[in-house]
């Protein structure tokens, strides 16, 4: 996926609840690329160069680890606050 496509995808998938700002997106993409978790391919589209980002094998492993950590964190928060989801 390319940068602009990512911002639009996030917007569409979250029904506009989450807006990924351009100023935040590219620094994150470049950081993940430098860490070797993303790889880049370039193509000429509509007379201009476009960069496509793809997740690497190492990046995918990291994604699974991070999701697990997030899940554990949310579980802990739930235990701590015991929110009443319904009345």
């Amino acid at each position: 996926m390319y940068g602009y496509e990512i911002t639009q995808k996030v917007k569409a998938e979250t029904n506009g609840n989450l807006i990924l700002k351009e100023g935040a997106l590219y620094p994150v993409l470049h950081k993940l690329e430098a860490q070797g978790w993303l790889t880049v391919e370039a193509e000429r589209v509509d007379g201009r160069l476009r960069k496509y980002y793809k997740i690497t094998e190492a990046g995918d492993k990291e994604r699974v680890n991070l999701l697990q950590s997030l899940q554990e964190y949310l579980k802990t928060m739930e235990q701590l606050f015991q929110p009443k989801w319904s009345y």
């Binding site: 940068g3 602009y4 700002k21 620094p27 950081k31 193509e43 589209v45 160069l49």
Partner: protein
């Protein structure tokens, strides 16, 4: 669907340069992003002029414009460069290259030991290495100048490779500080153990200098192609 023409794309490149994005790799990414955004705006409202649509897209980057993106990109690229230097260094710590490193360290040890009474020899060695280094740097500089003037494009990693290489000069001067700290009077009183440590540190530092000033700049083209898939397409 309305699309940007080549003149408008070129004008977006100029726009990024006016907003302090000097490197072509980042310009390309921002131009495509802005162009996609402008085309999307035109889909919704075809009455917008190119300039109006461009300014609306630019506003989305916030009050600092492209500055934050540039800054973070620089940080990420420096990290990538450090990894590259480290990768080269590790190569020298493995067989067969490590044999050469051990031999040179041993020769340095002998030289230090034998010449510990000769201030002129110690300083002369360091200045000779520095002179060779400055010559290599001069050659590298001329090359990068030529690359820049040929197509007018500046690549961030290329800049880092040639500019960080200059930092090697500071590394080359470090042995002089050992000399300052120890002083000539104490220098010949050192034990073999400390001579060995000193030789190892000096050779390690000069190896870093060699990697940063000679080895990586020599393979700059290869690293640019690896880092930038658009390098070949541009």
């Amino acid at each position: 669907m309305a699309q940007l023409n080549q003149d408008q794309i070129e004008s977006l490149y100029r726009f990024t340069r006016q907003h302090f994005v000097v490197h072509y790799d980042l310009q390309t990414e921002l131009v495509d992003h802005m162009a996609s955004g402008i085309e999307r705006l035109w889909e919704k409202n075809d009455q917008l002029t190119f300039e109006q649509a461009r300014d609306r897209e630019f506003k989305k980057f916030g009050v600092f414009g492209f500055m934050d993106v540039v800054e973070k990109r620089q940080k990420a690229m420096n990290k990538r460069y450090s990894r590259l230097v480290w990768k080269h260094f590790i190569e020298y710590m493995k067989l067969p290259k490590v044999a050469g490193f051990i031999l040179i360290t041993f020769l340095t040890f002998l030289t230090l030991k034998l010449t510990s009474y000769s201030e002129a020899f110690f300083l002369g060695t360091i200045f000779t290495v520095l002179a060779v280094y400055i010559f290599c740097l001069y050659k590298a500089r001329r090359k990068v100048k030529k690359v820049k003037t040929d197509d007018g494009k500046q690549w961030m990693l290329q800049d880092i490779i040639y500019n960080q290489g200059n930092m090697g000069g500071a590394i080359a001067l470090l042995p002089l500080h050992f000399y300052n700290i120890l002083g000539l009077n104490n220098f010949h009183q050192l034990s073999d153990f400390w001579f060995a440590i000193l030789s190892l540190v000096i050779c390690g530092l000069f190896l870093f200098m060699y990697i940063m000033s000679v080895e990586i700049p020599k393979r700059a083209e290869e690293y640019l192609k690896d880092t930038y898939p658009e390098y070949k397409l541009s």
